[in-house]
């Protein structure tokens, strides 16, 4: 079974600064997908970024980028130029190719302050 570990229960950052959220996972699969989801207080789960394991290039979406280290089974999320609206719970998730079900980490609560 796959496991996803987020070792930082809470993180704080000031507006305009950069923050990195950590995620590690354990799997014996070679082909899989990784995701970061954001859940603000409204509780809507929002897909932030996704990464295919077979792609060496790290995914980027505007201010969000990942550092995907397949050998180390690490998938960290970097948020640049943090904004107050980035305050949310962030979940890292794993999906085995062809299975469609997501395994989530416990989440990291990110607080962006002025």
């Amino acid at each position: 079974a796959q496991t996803v570990t987020q070792s930082q229960p809470e993180m704080s950052v000031q507006e305009a600064e950069t923050v990195t959220l950590s995620c590690t996972y354990d799997t014996s699969e070679n082909n899989y997908y990784l995701f970061w989801y954001k859940q603000p207080p409204s509780r809507q789960m929002i897909l932030v970024i996704r990464q295919e394991a077979y792609k060496q290039q790290n995914a980027t979406e505007n201010r969000f980028s990942v550092n995907f280290q397949k050998a180390a089974k690490s998938f960290s999320l970097k948020i640049s130029d943090s904004q107050l609206g980035d305050t949310a719970m962030y979940f890292c998730a794993f999906m085995k190719e062809g299975y469609s079900t997501l395994t989530f980490g416990k989440g990291t609560m990110l607080l962006v302050s002025p």
Partner: protein, 113 residues
């Protein structure tokens, strides 16, 4: 990516009663998923809803407690039956594809009193 409408957004229910949650997707999808998120916790998969067949339940979840319907490729319901206070959670549905990622409904906050 799919847009999902979920309702109700919240409800307060008496113990022993049942609540049915609905999810409507704006496009046809093969599979839909139902998750539970207990207060301050991560998401746990309840079941996968397949059109035309019975839902596939994860360990710890049973059909009698969480019956699921999937009458077509854009709609699914989850019923929480014979509720107790321990069922108080946020329930979310999800759909999508590996390539585009999975989107979620806005969630149903259930409180059982």
């Amino acid at each position: 990516s799919a847009v999902i409408s979920q309702k109700p957004s919240r409800d307060i229910c008496q113990r022993g009663t049942s609540l049915t949650i609905q999810c409507q997707v704006d496009s046809q999808v093969t599979m839909m998923f139902w998750y539970r998120q207990q207060p301050g916790q991560s998401l746990t998969l309840i079941a996968t809803a397949n059109q035309g067949s019975e839902a596939t339940y994860e360990s710890g979840f049973v059909i009698d407690k969480f019956p699921i319907s999937r009458p077509n490729l854009t709609f699914s319901t989850l019923t929480v039956s014979n509720m107790s206070p321990e069922d108080s959670s946020i329930y979310l549905c999800s759909a999508g594809t590996e390539y585009y990622g999975y989107t979620f409904g806005s969630g149903t906050r259930l409180t059982v009193v």
